[in-house]
Structures are given as C-alpha cells and as structure tokens.
Symmetry: C2
Subunit: 410 residues, 2 copies
C-alpha cells in the first residue's frame, strides 16, 4: 500500500505544496478540518506586522500599512473560493457573531418585504451547535423562532412562517453535503431566505454561492483556510441585498464615516456595514497568508485531491480488512473533505491513534473523524493512517486505561 | 526645560520600563491612548505561540498550551487593574460586541426583576460613537430606546423608564472623567443599572468597579493595555448578576459544555457565558503580554506618573507662551491620561507635528489630542513635544498645503 501511495504522491501535481506548510515530524495530521496547519510564510508575515507595522509604524499603519481595509481585502480574496464577487464578502469577528448578524439581517429583510410575521428560522437537529445557539439568542430576544426538521423533512418544513433556512453546507460530524442549489431554490420558492455555513467547505472544495443564488453565508478562517487558532471568520451577502442590508451589531467600523465621530449611525456601503468593532489585525494578517496560499493552489485542484485522498483511505482500510461503520456518504461527491466512522469506543480509539502520532478527532458521543486537508497531506500519510487504525483495532491497545474517556476539550 | 525634564526622568521610578517597549527612534508618541506601543516581549511570545503551539502542537494546544482557558486567564489578569474579582472579567471579541452583549444583559435583567417596561438606555451626546451605535442596534431590533442627555442633565434624565446608564468613564475626546461612584449610586437609586466603558481608563489609572458597585463594564485591549491593533476587548459583570446573566450572542464557547455538541444552549458559569465564538488566540497572546507588563508596573504608580506628565506638558506650554484652548479638565484628578486642545486648524496642526515626529492625533472637528501613556513616556518626550507644538504654532508651517485637511482615517 505504501508503495502505491508513493506512486500516487509522485504523480500528485499538488505534492509540492506540502513544503509550504509546517507539518510536524512524526505526525499524520487528519485534523485540518478543525485547525489547519501553519503556512511557512505566516511567522515572517506576522513578525513584519508586529515589529514593523505595529512596533515602528504604530498608529500610522492604519493608513500606511492599509490595516483599515484589511477586512475588505481579505474578504475579496475569499470571494472567488466560494463563488462570490469581491465586494460581497468581508472578514470579521467570529463565525458565531457573523451568524447573529446575518440571521438578524434576514429577519429585517423579511420585514422590509412586508412579511414581518415570518419569524421562523429553520435548521436541522445536529447542525453545528453554534448555528443553533445563535438562533436561540434571537429567540430569547423574542425576535426569532427556532424550528428543527430532519434532513429528509426540510422541504416539508418550509412553510409560510419560515423567514430563513440556515444550514451547514458540509456537516461537521459526517461531512454530508447539502445540495446548495436545490435547497436554495426550494427556500426561495417558499418565500424564505437562505444562510449557508461554509465552515467545513471553504478552502477544501469549490462553492458556488452566486450560481446557487444564495442570500447569505458565513465561514471559518481556521480550518481549511489555515488562518490560525481562532482566526477571524467571514460573512457573505449577495449583492441584491446590499441596499437594504441591516444588522444590529452596528458598531463604529460599519459606519459610512467612522472618523466623523457622529452621534448617529449611518450604515456604510455594501458589506462594510457588517463590520462592528476595530478589526483584529494580527488575526487578519495570518488569515490573509492562509487564504493567499489556498487561492494559489486553487480550490478545483484541491477538490480533486481531496476526493482521491479519502477514497484511497477507504481502499487501504478495506485491504487491511477493517470493518468499521462509515457514517459519511460513500459517494465522494456527496461529502466534504472528511470521513467519519461510528464506534462505541471512538474516544479511546482516537486517543490511541494520537499516541501513535495519527491525529484525527473524536466527536461526541461515538464518532471518529478524519479530515483530509488536501493542501498538505500526502497519499503516504493516508496509507500510514489506515495501517495505524487497522493495528489499533486489531491490537486492542485502545483498551488501555490511559485512553479511557475523559472530558474531551477539542 | 529639557534640563528639568532630565532631572524628572532621573528621579522617575518607572523610567526603567521604557526599555520594555519598542519606542521608535525619532518619534515622540503621544497616541498610546489610540494604539499602545509594542512590548518588547510580544514578538517572542507570538513566535512561540505561532511556531510552537500552532505549528507543532496544532489542535493539541487547545489543551496542552491552555488556549481554551485564555479568555478567563487574561480576564482574571485585567480584573485587579479595574477593581474587580478575577471571575468577573473575561477577554473576548471587540468592545463594540461586548457592549451589545451587556446592554442586552441589562435589559434582560430589568425584565427578570419585573420591570420589562424599562427600555431606555441613557447616555450622553458625544460619547464614543460605537457606544451610541450599539444602543441604536438594539433600538432597531425594537428592544431599546436611546436617550441622550448632556453631562450636566444626566441625573435629571434618570427617570423610571431608564433600564441602563451607559457612559464612558474617561471621555475619548476631552479625557473628562465621570464620578463613577456618584453616578452609579444615582442610577441605582433610580432603579437603573450601569455599564461603564473603560476604554480610556484601563491601564492608565486605577478603576474601582466593585467599590463603586458597578454592574457592567467593557474596555479596550489596544490602548493603555498595549495588546496590539484590534486586540481582543474585555467585559466585566458584577458577581451579584452572574446567576441571572443572559445575553443573546449565545455562541458555543459560552455553553456549559461546548464539546457535548448539544442542540440546546445551556449557559456556562459566570462570565463564561459571555463567550461566543472560538477565542482569537494570537490576539489574546499579545494582549496577555501587555496586561502582564502593565500589572507589573502597577496602576497606582502609572497614575502618579500620568498626572505628572500631563501637568509638566502644561507647564512647558505655559513657559513657551503657548495660548491654546484646553478642553480637558484643568484638574488632573478630573481627567484621564490625556490633554486635548481646541483649534480651528487642529487637523493641519496634528499633521505638521507628525511630520516632526510628534505623534498625537486629531479628533473631528477641531480637537488636537495628546495621550500620555505613563508606561513608556519620559519627561524629556514631554518637553520636546511642547517645544515642537510651540514652534509649529509660531512658524505657521501648518499652513502648508501638505498638511491641509484630507479624509482622516485615524
């Protein structure tokens, strides 16, 4: 298997990009869907921002180093990765905070269209928790009503009360993809707007927001975009909604003229009005390096390799005779860049693998999750990961006490 | 004057701390109240976080490097600077976002006390814009009503409709201080809660939130705390409100058990429930270095030097025969760590000074503002700044076209 992997690596047009990332010695990292690897260019860029722009330039760098336009600039670089126009995307705050802005924006938009009675935000049970919790926040304010419907019943649940359909494009646990075009169309037909969470999509495979006529989207900077722990997130608003766009986190950076210091809020143009407080420059600088690198590699090529990596992992497992319950779709076109398996001892297995240097992760209560970040993984990594998983299952070493269930943090 | 300044510097017990900051050659930096200087320890700390914790540790660092507790740890270090208990303060998001959380929390608290008709948030015109705009955001949601009253009329405006009094402790333009104890008492007597914005206070002089019985506070990490451009901010909630605390940005990091991935939100303990998205680790690491350094110097000593610096600036100006309209309180005990002057050509003056390496700033429409960050400024800096201001005013060099009014960014 390792032999075959080496042939695949030799033929891989993206193989050279592994050298652009820090991949720790002795580690097979199948958790880039949780925190992406460090691009080798990031430390120097940060040192330049910290020592040069902050240390030497000080306050002048808001102009001279163009700090003030970083949210727009980084957003514009993310735009082509998700099928958006540059001015439709802005980098800001966290995914959670951006969800709050855009759920609120959708409710306000329904009201401006004369449909104030539409208050329901529809999602699925088991969506990433923060997506559901941000609906809860607006529900506690008395402004939204949360409705959850199983994936198969979503279309039936799209009735005249639904203001917004909020879904995560690639499911964080299983990787199962929604059909963005079909669901967006169905929502629009029902008079609802759509907000896509792209956290497990962006940077791993192409997304076509405009082609699907999506209204809103958010996404994460620290997974496949390699922006670093807690990197700023991004928000997308389709151009057709720019003029009426309104959201309650109306901070000074979203004002049309922040430095006029007016007592009265006047929203800035387009997605500028999604900004709230002062932009986090260190985080944005690191994110920009990650985005530049992913854009250079190209999401189409990344998608091709992503599918090849995950399919090769399944082949290797099959050849090792591993019989483990796949919960991800078996069709690579129907899933994101990950494979997840159900096992009653998933936590202990993940710990035993980590002890061998194979880092995947565990998701409560019984999911063993492997992410395949195509920018820096090799086919040899995949063969080795499969061999280790087979050995761990065979040996029963995961029974050892050190791997037993503790409170998992990540 | 420079001679006298050198004597003052020789006798200054804090003089040695200047060497702990990067102060650029040829620059007299009187804008630490906008963006604080870079602590010399910050680049190494960031390099360790980036190369070691992110690059090598990857996802494991959420546990092994204690990333997951950074918001609480940094908050606890800020607490003694503002007269709070460690578990009453958390570092998170931006000042603006934290304002939204705590204005909302105050409205929810009034409702839980059986006073849902109290919707008014009282502030003053000319407060820092984002404070007013975040009230506007809640007003647009139909949840709050903004009321502004001039400083002298605030007590009269505290009627039975007021849910919350929201004020900035040290005014960003003039530096004028509110009497925190007296206003908090008056608000409580009127059945209102109080939220203090400490952005221009924290790290420059001691604040006594608990002694004043304040309910809520927010503050900025990138001014006197030297956390870097767009550093995370902090939020304070008095212990007596912890049990009932509720805010709408209920993201997964504020959940009692984020990694249980439950569909239903259950708020974490105390200020943990103010967390929303994944914490920005790079920003928090830089902020922690700044906070550690300020805590080591000590806010009482910083306050003593702050007053001495600003009074020395006034003396120098007087000796140079500079007659310029002081808009800050003349009593140092009544102002923050800054002096502001009104001049119809304030913008051109500030530009002419910057061209000489004296960096203060301009605030619309006619304010020339000088901040005195006591951690790294010397009395010699002050003497030189005063000489330069006198010369610029005398020479009329600020009339030159290059200094004329353009769109100011910062």
């Amino acid at each position: 298997m390792l032999e075959r992997a080496r042939h695949l690596d030799a033929a891989d047009p993206l193989a050279g990009y592994r050298g652009r990332f820090e991949v720790p010695e002795g580690v097979i990292y199948l958790d880039g869907n949780s925190l992406g690897c460090l691009p080798k260019a990031t430390p120097d860029r940060l040192a330049k921002v910290v020592r040069g722009e902050w240390g030497e330039g000080l306050i002048r760098s808001w102009n001279s180093a163009d700090w003030i336009t970083m949210p727009q600039r980084v957003g514009a670089k993310i735009a082509p990765l998700i099928g958006a126009q540059p001015h439709e995307v802005i980098a800001a705050d966290s995914t959670s905070v951006n969800l709050f802005k855009l759920i609120s924006a959708a409710l306000a938009l329904q009201e401006s269209k004369g449909r104030p009675s539409r208050k329901t935000v529809l999602s699925e049970p088991g969506n990433f928790p923060t997506d559901l919790y941000m609906i809860d926040g607006l529900e506690k304010q008395g402004l939204a009503e949360r409705r959850l419907a199983e994936r198969a019943s979503l279309l039936d649940a799209l009735d005249g009360e639904v203001a917004l359909l909020l879904l995560t494009h690639a499911h964080y646990k299983t990787g199962a993809l929604f059909d963005m075009a079909a669901l967006t169309r169905a929502a629009h037909d029902a008079g609802a707007l759509v907000l896509w969470d792209l956290s497990h999509s962006v940077g791993a495979f192409p997304v076509h927001l405009n082609r699907c006529e999506a209204d809103f989207a958010v996404g994460c900077g620290y997974k496949y975009l390699n922006g670093g722990p807690g990197a700023p997130a991004f928000a997308f608003v389709a151009e057709c909604h720019h003029e009426t766009l309104q959201q309650p986190l109306s901070g000074w950076m979203g004002h049309a003229a922040p430095f006029a210091f007016s007592d009265d809020y006047e929203p800035g143009a387009a997605t500028d009005r999604l900004l709230c407080g002062t932009p986090p420059i260190l985080g944005l600088a690191a994110l920009e390096v990650g985005v530049d690198l992913i854009a250079q590699i190209g999401v189409d090529r990344l998608y091709g390799k992503s599918k090849a990596l995950s399919e090769f992992f399944r082949q290797c497992l099959a050849e090792h005779g591993v019989d483990i319950d796949l919960v991800s779709p078996s069709d690579p076109a129907a899933r994101g860049s990950q494979l997840s398996f159900r096992h009653e001892n998933a936590y202990a297995l993940s710990q035993a693998l980590i002890a061998r240097g194979v880092i995947g992760d565990f998701r409560d209560p019984d999911i063993l999750r492997f992410g395949f970040a195509p920018a820096y993984l090799s086919f040899a990594d995949i063969a080795e990961a499969a061999r280790n998983l087979a050995e761990v299952l065979d040996s029963g070493e995961w029974h050892e006490e050190e791997f037993s269930r503790k409170a998992a943090v990540t």
